[in-house]
Subunit: 201 residues, 2 copies
């Protein structure tokens, strides 16, 4: 899902570095100076490409969302059953975490109250699109009998997003991708179980 490393245009290289910094340290935890130092340019030259931090931030979210939505479309194209589609969805998160990164929009959700308006709106759009895609997958899975949940598909979609974002969030302090995988596995099995399983250890 990620592009190449620092071989694109100036704008692309700026976005690549800034994206990694935000996913590592947060929007309030990085500066133009950090980006400039890594690219061996000056802060002033960054302002030529992005008027201010708000514009840079908005561009980051837009690009990230575009790539994420493209990855969702690719999963759809594979025409997997619902369980496998959810596994593929969780794998998108796992890839980000393996790069020692938090989901860009999960990070920005934490900092939401301090973000410029245009970034806030872009963060909302990311989650809306994730939910819509998941709702469709979950509804289809339930209608075919491969998934099971009591509440609406929209509500179940919110659990999936919540659990995966939260699993990334809590796995990072431990530097342990297995923690994420464990939570994802329990989540998927809890939406899959048919009832014919052991009820105690």
């Amino acid at each position: 899902m990620q592009g190449g490393r620092s071989n694109g245009s100036a704008v692309t290289r700026i976005l690549d570095v800034a994206e990694r910094l935000v996913q590592h340290r947060g929007f309030n935890g990085f500066s133009y100076a950090d980006v400039a130092a890594e690219l061996n340019v000056t802060k002033a030259s960054l302002h030529y490409h992005f008027a201010g931090k708000a514009e840079l931030g908005e561009a980051l979210i837009t690009r990230y969302t575009r790539r994420f939505v493209a990855a969702l479309a690719e999963i759809q194209r594979l025409d997997l059953d619902a369980r496998a589609a959810l596994e593929a969805y969780a794998e998108l998160y796992a890839e980000v975490l393996r790069g020692r990164r938090m989901c860009l929009c999960g990070m920005l959700a934490a900092e939401y109250q301090t973000l410029p308006k245009q970034m806030q709106d872009a963060v909302i759009r990311f989650f809306d699109q994730n939910e819509a895609w998941l709702e469709s997958v979950l509804e289809q899975g339930r209608s075919k009998g491969t998934l099971r949940f009591r509440e609406s598909a929209r509500e179940a979609a919110r659990l999936v997003v919540s659990a995966l974002e939260g699993a990334m969030l809590t796995a990072r302090p431990y530097g342990d991708v297995d923690r994420f995988q464990a939570a994802a596995t329990v989540l998927l099995s809890s939406l899959t179980d048919t009832g014919a399983v052991a009820t105690h250890s």
Copy 2:
């Protein structure tokens, strides 16, 4: 679970204001100046009580964890069944969210990479204690047949923490506590279902 409002000692009042600011804006999103302004004192006087931001931050986590662990002990004391204990646990999170706050340690987990070492260690301890408590509740629920999950109780505990932290994280941009409640409800029902439920809409 929260104490009174600004009626304690100077230290307590500082912690109260700083706690709210961190839960609202993040550790990198607030300053000594913010706290001082709200309390109508100067930044210098804050340094008398807390040598630096790192010490203030560590004290915040320690107090928050102590209160949270006390709330967990209170739930235990009520001797509820596992399902009700999990509902009470989720309600602790809901109370925080109703105050328009993120879980202190969830917020700090996002900013983890930028925190001073003593704060990082304190954040880890918070999650460890939550997991241990949940593991015990989940194991008991499974042995009594009121809960159902395939994997280890420790792994299921990680899902519970992940889902609730993630549900808080993603509900805040929408300013919508119902979003949290929906995710929590689906989570609990997915750990409770006995198998005799509808499998499609």
